[in-house]
Subunit: 238 residues, 2 copies
DNA sequence: AATCAAAACTGATAAAAGTCATCTTTTTCG
DNA sequence: CGAAAAAGATGACTTTTATCAGTTTTGATT
């Protein structure tokens, strides 16, 4: 499981359009580009650990990474799943804090590392970029507030349904016709997203399947009836 | 319940030292000061509503304000309780978004309103201030991640104990000897903080009281045995 | 002080979800 | 390929917590 380096110019990156780096002026772009290190990771490898200090920013070029916290009993809660174009570990970096979560590769990933100094330099010189970062962070916060309320007052069934819909939206292929969740999650990982026990997820998934709301395609899940699923999630009434 | 204006120079504000405005240069400080409007609110009044657009930033000068989301069935989840020195509503403002929560006065409050334009002007002109705001936002996010994991995997009893300790730390008087939670919360509000039913909070509180962990003083709660409470919260083992 | 409303409390019950044990299927890897 | 491990699935059982219905207490108002 050795780390393999690769290289791609940021300007040629397929995911630049989805990234916060999009629209950066050439000077700043090359500052990022010239200082980055790009590494290929295999499934199961860790990107960073809870309790350690960030030394830079990770920028996803391929694959999927889960960011999660472990509680005392070793139970995992997945805070989010990073996809290409996403930044990783910026929260701890920007608040000059330890990592409060661990990041582990879910699907073989290509990730670029930008040293703290380079990132901060661009951030300080470029108020427009700073503004966009702030906006993204605050957006993220809004989503987390939503999740908090959901976790506090929705049943596991509702949360599972809601998360399946979210996963379909976020990791489905582009275009409206996308119904397949392009992410092979284990039942255990799904449980860690929803905040419940693995057995409960298994039972509910097979109920959803029996009711024709979803099907399993290999390790992936296809949403057959998004509307009924939304009803299960209590997102639409009646 | 008419709104009553008052005025206090920012430089003379008792809570400047706890605020993100602390350390602002005189020019920026007076820009904020000259454009602010300060209003006294009574318990129960609303500061802003979920679904509306922010037009500026609120800065707490006195009292307490709860920021919460209502779910479909009308159940409330309190995201945080703002105290003097805190900013209110900056998340939606910075992400150019609607308010995703409602703010209601818990204890008669004095709140200053800074128009969007003035705030953004200072933010843009002053990268150090911007940096501090970003740091605060990211810190807040770290706390919310913690809350998410707590909500996902801890029992109601553990969460209540943890929240009582948090309330003691945050709203107790300064100094180590502070054991009284300086905030008269109804059982219903406490339930909305913990994410449970009012009856459950009532039952657990009286258990905690019987076990000598807390006492009631009027409408307030005093933490008698923080160590045992931390044990109940599963924060320390054995 | 009497009245009313809201908040606090109590008990009974039911539903939801976790845990544990076991079994089957799939995947991994020498 | 075949053994071992991991993931998935199922059943029985228990615990936790929500819900409902009702009572008591407190506080506000006239």
């Amino acid at each position: 499981m050795a780390k393999v380096e690769f290289n791609i110019a940021c300007t040629l990156c397929d995911h630049l359009k989805d990234s916060l780096f999009n629209g950066l002026n050439p000077e700043d772009m090359s500052r990022i580009n010239n200082h980055k290190t790009c590494i290929q990771y295999k499934k199961g490898q860790n990107i960073f650990y809870e309790g350690t200090r960030p030394t830079g920013l990770y920028c996803m070029n391929g694959g999927k990474v889960k960011v999660y916290k472990n509680n005392v009993q070793g139970k995992e809660f997945i805070i989010y799943i990073a996809k290409p174009g996403d930044f990783l570990g910026y929260r701890a970096l920007l608040s000059e804090d330890f990592y409060k979560a661990t990041a582990t590769v879910l699907e073989d990933a290509k990730i670029c590392f930008i040293p703290k100094e380079s990132f901060f330099e661009v951030l300080q010189k470029n108020p427009v970029f700073m503004r966009r970062v702030v906006q993204a962070v605050c957006n993220e916060m809004g989503i987390m507030e939503e999740k908090l309320a959901e976790l506090a007052h929705k049943s596991v069934r509702e949360r599972l349904a809601a998360n399946l819909l979210m996963l379909k939206e976020t990791y489905g292929m582009e275009g409206e016709g996308s119904t397949l969740i392009e992410l092979a999650l284990s039942r255990e990982d799904l449980a860690s997203i929803v905040g419940t026990a693995t057995e409960t997820v298994i039972r509910l998934l097979s109920e959803f399947k029996n009711d024709g709301l979803i099907t399993f395609e290999g390790k992936k899940i296809r949403v057959l009836d998004a509307r009924k699923l939304a009803k299960q999630a209590d997102l639409i009434i009646a």
